[in-house]
């Protein structure tokens, strides 16, 4: 039963959502009423959305458990793990308190405290973390990108054309040709390559989706 019921639930929910794809919604002009599978589909999507959110919160519980263990064990990172947990629970307290109306720091017409923290702490941290990659990509350009073969040379040339074609200086130093080369490259060559990649990936999604919906694929149950 530990295996059969989950597989049955997967097949049933998968087939119902698939069925809803092939049925029609309301069309007053044509006198068509909404098919019942649309209601089932809407409800199942809501269920998936709820489980998705609960699964996320489950992940947080694991993060907290692991961090607490590290703090108990002492060591170099114990201080930083403490900072992380204080930030986590402090911010959660502020945010949930404001959401449920347990407390409020804002006056009339002012923004909630959780948005101030978002603005002054979260935004600079996340934005700067990702901006660091600009430095590493520069370093990689010097150390790693080698024109060892025809293919790698083409990659570098295409990259250079994009870099030049996207900025004003590119057209200035190529007499306006950089953006034309870029347009041709993106539409006719990149367009073909992207379509091939997407078609290949979608065939994979279709095959895997069919295996799951038909109950053949069971690896998600750790079998």
């Amino acid at each position: 039963m530990k295996r059969e019921i989950p597989i049955l639930l997967t097949v049933l929910s998968g087939l119902l959502v698939t069925l809803a794809f092939f049925t029609r919604g309301e069309n007053v002009a044509a006198g068509i009423e909404t098919h019942w599978s649309k209601a089932v589909n809407a409800e199942l999507l809501q269920w998936a959305l709820i489980f998705f959110s609960v699964a996320f919160i489950l992940g947080i519980a694991n993060l907290v458990r692991i961090s607490l263990k590290q703090i108990q064990g002492g060591g170099a990172d114990a201080f930083y793990k403490t900072v992380m947990l204080i930030a986590l629970f402090g911010y959660l307290g502020v945010g949930l308190g404001e959401y449920h109306g347990w407390w409020s720091f804002a006056g009339e017409g002012e923004q909630p405290m959780k948005l101030w923290i978002y603005d002054k702490l979260f935004i600079p941290l996340q934005a700067t973390m990702f901006s660091l990659l600009a430095f590493y990509i520069a370093s990689a350009a010097f150390r790693a990108f080698r024109a060892r073969s025809l293919e790698s040379t083409l990659l570098l040339v295409a990259g250079a054309i994009v870099m030049l074609g996207q900025v004003p200086v590119g057209d200035q130093i190529t007499d306006g040709y950089a953006s034309r080369w870029l347009a041709f490259l993106m539409v006719y060559v990149n367009g073909a390559g992207q379509k091939a990649i997407i078609i290949g990936a979608t065939l994979g999604v279709l095959a895997t989706g069919l295996r799951i919906v038909l109950g053949i694929e069971r690896s998600y149950l750790s079998e």
Binding site: L9, F51, A55, L88, Y91, R180
Partner: protein, 307 residues
């Protein structure tokens, strides 16, 4: 700095939640400290960066938890059931996905979803129990079916149909840019169109055939595959070029943001004068303090060089 684009802020409150006022002083110092603390990683891993990194994980996790709790639990369970009950009490027609439904059924279904969500949470107590598998199974089934149907229609059927559409209707191809921009007019359009479409279809077919592993690689197939690889490498090259563009755009925005905090309102020296105002502004002063601390630390030989 940067006077041509925006007026310098000369007065700002120490702390405010009122968004109609200029950004507050406390916020300015925090933004600059955290930005520079993250940038300090470029020198080497250090306590400033570690502090910022863990603060980021804590705050980010809290924000995500808040949003998932509010929109993924409170809204679809509590608010939905409240709405359904209100509709039932008022005798209104309650619709689910456009289909009229008795409110008792609507509430019943959602209560079951709530119970299944609790099953998922039971993983905390019994990680290998049967209960968490039920909601997980439903989630996998729904996702698989949704992706399979939606993506097959849009990224396979419609994509292929649209790939061949320009042959009969050139307006379906993104070619206008080559003719539309001044000075870009192409004299022999028909020849250019045939040449471009040739490149496109040869590239597409060869790249697709490169992924076919059903047949033995003969010389012909190997040749076709080589053309496919060339198309894919140019595609990857353009992706690399765009990645550079994106990453640098993020860096420029952060530098621009720091630049904005050199205004007199945020400087410890106030509006006393050009150099002093600048030297005691948050990005310069905090940058100097972080650099000095790391420099002294390096001189004393503390910590390993992980850069």
């Amino acid at each position: 700095m940067f006077l041509a684009l925006q007026e310098a802020v000369t007065e700002a409150p120490f702390f405010t939640l009122d968004t109609s006022q200029p950004g507050d002083v406390l916020g300015a110092w925090l933004v600059c400290f955290l930005t520079l603390a993250v940038f300090s990683f470029l020198y080497k891993d250090n306590p400033f960066y570690k502090f910022a990194e863990h603060l980021f994980v804590g705050l980010g996790t809290a924000w995500f938890t808040m949003k998932y709790y509010e929109e993924g639990i409170v809204q679809p369970i509590h608010e939905y059931i409240t709405s359904a009950r209100a509709a039932g009490a008022a005798g209104e027609v309650f619709e689910l996905g456009g289909y009229p439904l008795d409110t008792a059924w609507a509430i019943g279904f959602r209560v079951v979803a709530g119970i299944f969500a609790l099953f998922l949470l039971s993983r905390l107590i019994a990680p290998n129990g049967w209960a968490p598998r039920w909601p997980l199974a439903i989630m996998v089934g729904v996702y698989a079916a949704l992706k399979m149907t939606g993506e097959t229609q849009s990224k396979l059927v419609l994509l292929l149909a649209n790939a061949v559409a320009p042959v009969t209707d050139p307006n379906k191809l993104a070619w206008g840019e080559l003719t539309q921009n001044p000075g870009w007019r192409i004299e022999n359009w028909d020849m250019f169109f045939s040449f471009s479409m040739g490149i496109f279809f040869v590239g597409l077919i060869c790249a697709l055939l490169h992924f076919v592993f059903t047949f033995k690689r003969t010389r012909v197939l190997a040749g076709v595959s080589k053309v496919g690889v060339v198309t894919l490498m140019i595609t990857f090259g353009s992706m690399f070029g765009f990645t550079v563009l994106g990453r640098i755009a993020l860096l420029i925005e952060r530098i621009d943001s720091l630049d904005g905090y050199t205004d007199p309102a945020y400087s410890l020296a106030g509006d006393s004068g050009g150099f002093l105002t600048m030297a005691f502004s948050p990005p310069i002063l905090l940058g100097a303090v972080i650099a000095l601390t790391l420099g002294v630390g390096a001189l004393r030989g503390r910590g390993g060089d992980s850069a």
